[in-house]
Subunit: 519 residues, 2 copies
């Protein structure tokens, strides 16, 4: 890693001003950074250079990469709609290795345990570093300071913003698709690897120099709907298998059976009811985890009980949201990714189940986006601190083990609630200071724990709303004291000075840096 | 008009190299001009500058224009999906006049007789010139050399290309919408002024500096589907009425009853059948005129008779195409604009009736487009010449009375057929040289007239295919001789040297110039 100037940003974190030799702006505060310049744009193409019959098929991914001009130092992107069932990303770098290409940047919209083989390519120098979330083994590898470049973590919206603004320039985007035609029109709705939306690849298709669509389900033109537009695609490739279906979407969605989590879910739903958040026409977003799923179910019950209807629910969709839609408890699902087969079916069949993208939902450098219009958002976190700052990427031992997803973007919602256990395996969740700040406390409104609910003092309206309720409202300090009493003062992680990854805010500034774990 | 250098282009026409003080490239031949540079892009916006609740409503169009920074010399765009029922475009320039703004450029995707009042604004200097098709009175005004600047005529695809490439920079786009929400999501499917698609406004929404959505049918967020994405919109305005429904779409589509036209239609369909063009999975596009409608009906009969199915039909959609879709005679309608209420209904209800845009269908500076994939295209023309060059914008008296529409773009199809009467009111249609070249003869394959069919000698394959048929195949010279014998040698228009408008080719080059008519 190159020598670097460090500065203290607006949340008091020491961050680099140079990331992989690119100057970066330290976080200035929410809404404080104003972008300059124009959106990135590709070199103007001409139909004269594309086949008149629309057939852009090339015989293999290798040939497509060669035609796309794969060479040392390029940035190659992939999407994560196949989650842990992706079969394409690893192949790209295997091919690069075979061709003797070095120093690539991999810019996935997220990485999964199935991408552990990329470590081999990081070791050999085929891949220089990863710009994108690093779950599990890749995160551990990065945490231990083994990656040649800095990891760069962005939210889904931040990734769109960075690509749109030209901060993250993609040379070649490889978009694996459950259905596509030879022209490059593609969607995630049909075929054995159906995953629902392909929205995470939208920016890649619009802004990459070269775009390759890879499918195992070639349709005659036109492949409809064109979630990815063939007019943005250079080459199409047919392969035997783009993904492992059972690792892409689950056949069923499991609600949590853990009594602790059910208690958190119920408490969260109760809070929303007592605070008057569940109103006719309200909107909400709950994640895909067991607790969030359960909250959705409680919301549905509350709506039914009170004869109310939600205007829209944001997905991650699953069978519970689909049930709400089909029962008329919500008018629309605005869906960014699809977590089970019922979600895929609904997206295919129901015009009120609508595909969204990080552009519509999360891009902070747009003329507005959907995130700030949502009434209630339920999110997770690994840690929060006394200022309500929260962490979603590192554990309290310092290890970088999770991506940001849409988490930072969702903080723009009107009410942000984090239902969290007070401790996990005797490690308390509320800290004096979080290991990594991913979201500034001013945007986090409520922490719901099994031993009480802490409301951000900035939200006097919420404090007033539940003043006369029977809810166990406490200060966050009280909750922390209680946890520390039970668990004892938590051990601090042993971290080196060396920065291994940067965490970007939704506006492209650097909100925190992740440091090497001393093992 | 400024002094200008004139050059002879690749089709032998004398064209200006400077249009309204902007350097322009003369036509170099089909597929010969290669663009340089990058696509245009807007200044990066920030959510910090847009309302968090997504409510972008301002009280009036006037206030929206003021907020958008309306000032002298700006380019203001509108779309023509309301056709002759548009109530918004005139208002924009009335407001500009009221505000004392001068020298505007109006860049409509097309203009209609209802826009005749713009002549007053051209006279007073509020509008400097029009970049877009000029039908009827506006065309006559331009033809007589009365417009301060040069008219610039582009095809639908050429307009997308020009906006995308930054040749046509739009300061403020005003997008009237039959349905919209306060965030700016808009579509043409619902409400009293439902017009089907809003695709002609897509480029405007993506590339204009400021985008205003005007609606008379405000929906709660989200307005679905978002043919125009609110994320590209700056301001929304609610007005009483955006258009006059009966002038937007007709309740019914009328097939021609003219025996001459029916004969042309039948002959065209017969040609397609005999030439083997009507195959399982073939695709076609026929315009909205009476003759074209009838050809569509003949195609449907042929498909039914032979147990065949078309893969897709390109619209302009109407009830006959919708019937084909609903009867399974075509699998998809890929629709650019909607001509009757049945088309609107189908677009709303049938997922196989798909909205397209000039980007998907026509943009020559894309990575391919749909136009070149279509098997058979049926188009009109005002004139053709012995080299099969054709004219769609001027009449033989020199008057500029029509826009190009998608005509130039459609020439990319695999077989382009022009069914034309041999003469109109004793004015022969086949000329030694067309008054204005809109499409190079090498792209036009077949002329079908009531007295014979001329096949372009470049299409030996088609000549061979119908060699043994009973079709009256003649040379174009024979057809011309026959027409001249009946009508006498046609009078030539009296044209001055002064150029009043330029006709762009699909790649942005200048294919011809329109000269002042000496009256």
């Amino acid at each position: 890693m190159s020598e670097n100037s460090l500065v203290t940003n607006a949340v008091g974190r020491t961050v680099p001003t140079l990331i992989n030799n690119v100057p970066s702006v330290p976080f200035k505060g929410v809404g404080k950074h104003r972008p300059t310049g124009r959106k990135h744009s590709i070199v103007i193409p001409s139909c004269a250079d594309y086949p008149e019959d629309g057939n852009k098929l090339v015989p293999s991914l290798k040939e497509a990469l060669i035609k796309a001009g794969l060479k040392d130092g390029m940035t190659i992107s992939t999407h994560h709609h196949f989650r842990n069932g992706d079969l394409i990303a690893n192949q790209i770098f295997d091919i690069a290795a075979e061709l003797g290409v070095k120093g690539l940047v991999w810019a996935p919209s997220a990485s999964f345990p199935c991408h552990e083989p990329i470590i081999g390519h990081l070791e050999s120098g085929v891949v220089h570093h990863i710009e994108g979330s690093m779950n599990g083994a890749l995160g551990r590898y990065c945490s231990e300071g083994k990656m040649a470049g800095l990891g760069v973590l962005r939210s889904h919206g931040g990734r769109y913003q960075a690509i749109q603004d030209g901060e993250l320039h993609i040379d070649i985007a490889v978009i694996a698709a459950p259905a596509a035609d030879a022209f490059g029109n593609a969607n995630g709705l049909y075929g054995e690897t159906a995953c629902g939306s392909l929205g995470f690849a939208l920016a890649d298709s619009e802004y990459a120099d070269r775009v390759i669509v890879v499918t195992d389900n070639l349709q005659p033109f036109p492949c409809i709907p064109w979630q990815i537009q063939g007019n943005n695609v250079d080459y199409t490739v047919v392969v035997d298998k783009v993904g492992i279906p059972e690792k892409i979407v689950s056949g069923t969605t499991q609600v949590t059976r853990s009594p602790d989590r059910l208690f958190l879910a119920e408490m969260t739903a109760r809070f929303c009811e007592e605070a008057g958040l569940i109103r006719e026409g309200f909107s909400f977003q709950a994640g895909a985890g067991g607790t969030s799923l359960s909250i959705g179910i409680y919301f549905a019950e509350l709506l039914k009980k009170n004869g109310l209807r939600s205007r829209f629910a944001r997905g991650g969709s699953n069978k519970y949201l689909v049930e709400m839609l089909e029962q008329g408890l919500t008018e629309y699902i605005l869906d960014g990714q699809t977590f089970d087969l019922e979600g895929v079916r609904s997206l295919r069949e129901n015009p009120n189940h609508v595909v969204t993208s990080p552009f519509t939902s999360y891009n902070y450098h747009g003329k507005g986006n959907f995130a700030s219009m949502i009434d209630v958002v339920i999110l997770g976190a690994t840690e929060v601190d006394l200022d309500f700052n929260a962490n979603v990427v590192t554990h309290s031992d310092g290890y970088l083990l999770h991506g940001i997803g849409g988490w930072q973007n969702c903080l723009a919602a009107k009410c942000v609630i984090l239902p969290l256990p007070l401790f996990r395996g005797r490690v308390p969740v509320i800290r004096d200071a979080v290991t990594t700040i991913c979201g500034p406390g001013e945007m986090i409104d409520v922490i719901v724990t099994e031993r009480g609910i802490a409301i951000n003092p900035l939200r006097q309206d919420l404090l007033d709303a539940v003043k006369h309720s029977s809810l166990p409202v406490k200060s966050i300090e009280e909750l922390k004291t209680e946890a520390d009493r039970i668990c004892g003062k938590p051990a601090q992680p042993i971290l080196g000075d060396e920065i291994v990854a940067a965490v970007k805010w939704v506006d492209g500034t650097v909100i925190d840096a992740v440091r090497k774990v001393i093992t």
